[in-house]
């Protein structure tokens, strides 16, 4: 089959690789029909996630048709149409049973490596480094899906791929980002990053009862999307001082909760500050560039919540712990526990409450995956979300 393979930093190739097989009795093999490129894939592409190997198949946001099932999968049949959550989770461990699927205790065979970097190991993720399991990803014609009896969600009606595909990752991720803000009604929520994750966090914040949502980014086309599609008040960090402006916009209080939907490759409007973190990151003195996170903490109102859904990989500098501590802030974060949200969000899509496909801007063939990555990372042609169609 064909698969999009990591070749090294900033190098990809669509190659011929063997077809996946059933390896465990609770596996399924899925013929992929749609596979998205996620902001997390850019971190891999840029080489900021350790333990990648030349030849790794990328992709963790995909759906398709079941073509093979292992002997212990009883809830699926050949031909079923399924969306596959990006965290691989067993459903049996204490973490899974308390809904913390992305920190499943059994799905990462390389947990020993992750422990060295993180202290304890998170679960496995498709196409997301060897430290997170060494699983082949879904930017391929076929994908092996472990624990197929608990992860994939069946889509029985005729909803098109695009409406349900993002249930695999960015929609639940954005939703969880908003949920972690502890919205009760009437809150002001600020979201750093108007990519697919940020945009869906904005929409979800409204779904959960927020009164105002503020979007922070620098790309006018993304800020326009935030305003038009997600009802957010746009704020271009290259034009204004973010902390000052947020203070101004909220009567001096600061937003009730701040969502970091940017992650480890944040950009800073001050060339000097951006250069400082970039230089440190490139020689690995610092693994992440936490511009948005620093700002989110400094901006948040006293006693408010900082929700981190942008992905980080290691260590950061100049972390404003004093602001966090002295002002009674709460930090909540995590790789999304997708399995916890899929059913509920699918129902919301069915009821027409939301259609997450508004973030999709580009549709390409699998063969063109490398072009898709290039466009997405350069934010060319108003690119926000690329879907590979098979």
């Amino acid at each position: 089959m064909k698969a999009n393979c990591w070749q090294g930093r900033e190098s990809l190739a669509v190659e011929e690789v063997p077809d996946p097989k059933i390896m465990n009795s609770r596996d399924a093999v899925v013929r992929v029909t749609s596979s998205a490129i996620c902001g997390s894939d850019l971190h891999l592409f840029h080489g900021y996630i350790p333990s990648m190997k030349k030849g790794d198949v990328l992709g963790h946001e995909f759906m398709g048709e079941v073509v093979e099932i292992g002997p212990d999968v009883h809830n699926l049949r050949i031909g079923d149409r399924v969306v596959v959550p990006f965290p691989i989770a067993c459903g049996n461990c204490a973490a899974c049973q308390s809904g913390l699927y992305s920190v499943c205790e059994n799905s990462n065979p390389n947990a020993g490596v992750a422990e060295r970097l993180f202290g304890h190991a998170p679960g496995g993720i498709y196409g997301y480094s060897h430290m997170l399991g060494g699983y082949a990803g879904g930017q391929a014609e076929y994908a092996r899906v472990p624990f197929a009896d608990i992860g994939p969600i069946k889509v029985e009606d005729d909803l098109p791929d695009e409406k349900v595909l993002l249930l695999s990752d960015v929609f639940p991720t954005g939703y969880m980002g908003a949920e972690m803000c502890g919205i009760k009604g009437g809150e002001v929520i600020a979201v750093w990053g108007a990519g697919a994750v940020g945009l869906l966090a904005m929409r979800s914040a409204y779904l959960l009862g927020a009164e105002r949502v503020i979007a922070i980014d620098r790309f006018p086309y993304r800020l326009r999307m935030a305003r038009e599609q997600a009802g957010a008040e746009p704020l271009n960090y290259e034009e204004v001082d973010v902390i000052e402006t947020l203070r101004e916009m909220t009567g001096g209080r600061g937003p009730d909760a701040c969502i970091d939907a940017v992650g480890m490759e944040g950009h800073h409007s001050s060339a000097v500050l951006h250069g400082y973190d970039r230089a440190k990151q490139s020689v690995r003195l610092e693994t992440d560039r936490p511009h948005a996170l620093r700002e989110a903490i400094m901006s948040c109102r006293n006693g408010g919540t900082v929700s981190i859904i942008g992905a980080y990989g290691g260590f950061v500098d100049k972390f404003p712990i004093g602001s966090l501590m002295n002002r009674s802030l709460t930090v909540r974060t995590g790789q999304c526990h997708v399995q916890r949200y899929t059913r509920m969000l699918l129902d919301r899509i069915r009821r027409g409450e939301i259609d997450p496909s508004f973030v999709i801007t580009h549709r390409l063939r699998l063969e063109d995956a490398p072009i898709g990555y290039e466009m997405f990372r350069q934010k060319q042609d108003d690119c926000t979300k690329v879907v590979l169609k098979l």
């Binding site: 030849g55 790794d56 049996n92 059994n106 020993g112 082949a136």
Partner: protein
């Protein structure tokens, strides 16, 4: 959960020889002190006043001291070597005594000399053996690890108690066969088809709480293990703590054996327990493209790329 440190059993009956020698010393010492005249006559030095009143009781005292060390001391190997030193003194004294004696006394001294030389040979052998055993105990490798399993202590205990299940998650084991009566036969598979096998016996067995076992006499690689099961706080299943110890022989064989048992025993047990948890909670060892045989931190550098493989699955 921690208890007394686990003893690594001796491979052979290496303590038996020092014990016998201890008894011999006891007998000799008692005779030399209690009946120096008779002993003097027996060995052919009854014509010497000094031998009867000073030398023999002195030797007796030395023998008694060795006996105490050999029989109740913690490090019999050292005391065996004091016996060897004593033997050397005795041989020198006997040779000296023979030089100025004739006739029956000379014959008796000759016989005594032969007997003492024989004993010396046995003492040297015992010394070598017990020094080696002490070395093996010093080299003993111990490792432990712990994991929490989302199952009751009862279930986890029952699975472990059937030792034939162990190779499902302890990858260095090729097989374990239960022979009944708490006995079992273990086989470890090594590179180039080399195998190490031994018999083991259950030492302690407390329902749903702990099991300990050890290799029986004669094992090439004496080893022991203990597993404890305790309810995790807040009803979060069972905390399992495993301790393993083994005493590899010295030299090249020892290094080969150490490889079989894993170069990083601590890491290996941790991996064993990860796989044990997977088996108990999900039903089998979880595989990925990069780790097709399942968890093995030792294999990390050998990870194949995360892409499907053409080849058949490793075990």
């Amino acid at each position: 959960m921690r208890g007394t440190p686990m003893e690594v059993p001796d491979g052979t009956g290496r303590r038996l020889l020092p014990r016998s020698l201890g008894l011999l010393s006891l007998g000799l010492g008692a005779a030399a002190i209690g009946a120096p005249s008779q002993v003097g006559r027996l060995i052919g030095v009854d014509d010497s006043m000094i031998a009867r009143t000073t030398v023999l009781p002195g030797i007796g005292a030395r023998e008694l001291l060795s006996a105490v060390g050999l029989l109740v001391g913690r490090h019999p190997s050292g005391w065996v070597w004091t016996r060897v030193a004593g033997d050397a003194m005795d041989l020198a004294a006997l040779a000296n005594a023979m030089r100025d004696r004739q006739g029956r006394r000379r014959q008796r001294l000759g016989a005594t000399l032969a007997v003492v030389a024989g004993i010396t040979a046995v003492d040297v052998l015992a010394g070598v053996l017990s020094t080696r055993a002490a070395g093996a105990r010093r080299r003993a490798v111990r490792a432990s690890a712990t994991v929490t399993i989302n199952r009751s202590a009862d279930e986890v205990y029952r699975f472990w108690r059937d030792f034939e299940n162990l190779p499902r998650f302890m990858y260095h084991l090729e097989s374990v066969r239960s022979d009944g009566d708490g006995r079992s036969h273990w086989t470890v598979k090594g590179p180039a088809g080399r195998r190490v096998e031994w018999d083991a016996e259950v030492v302690e067995d407390h329902l749903s709480e702990m099991i300990s076992w050890r290799s029986v006499r004669g094992a090439r690689v004496p080893n022991a293990g203990r597993v404890r099961f305790a309810r995790a706080a807040g009803g979060r299943g069972t905390e399992v703590r495993v301790e393993l110890a083994y005493a590899p022989p010295g030299g090249a064989v020892g290094r080969a054996v150490a490889k079989l048992f894993g170069e990083e025993p601590e890491q290996q047990i941790r991996d064993d327990l990860r796989r044990f948890k997977q088996v108990m909670e999900t039903g089998e060892v979880v595989r990925s493209d990069g780790s097709p045989a399942g968890t093995s931190t030792r294999q990390q550098v050998l990870q194949t790329p995360a892409r499907p493989r053409a080849a058949r699955l490793p075990r």
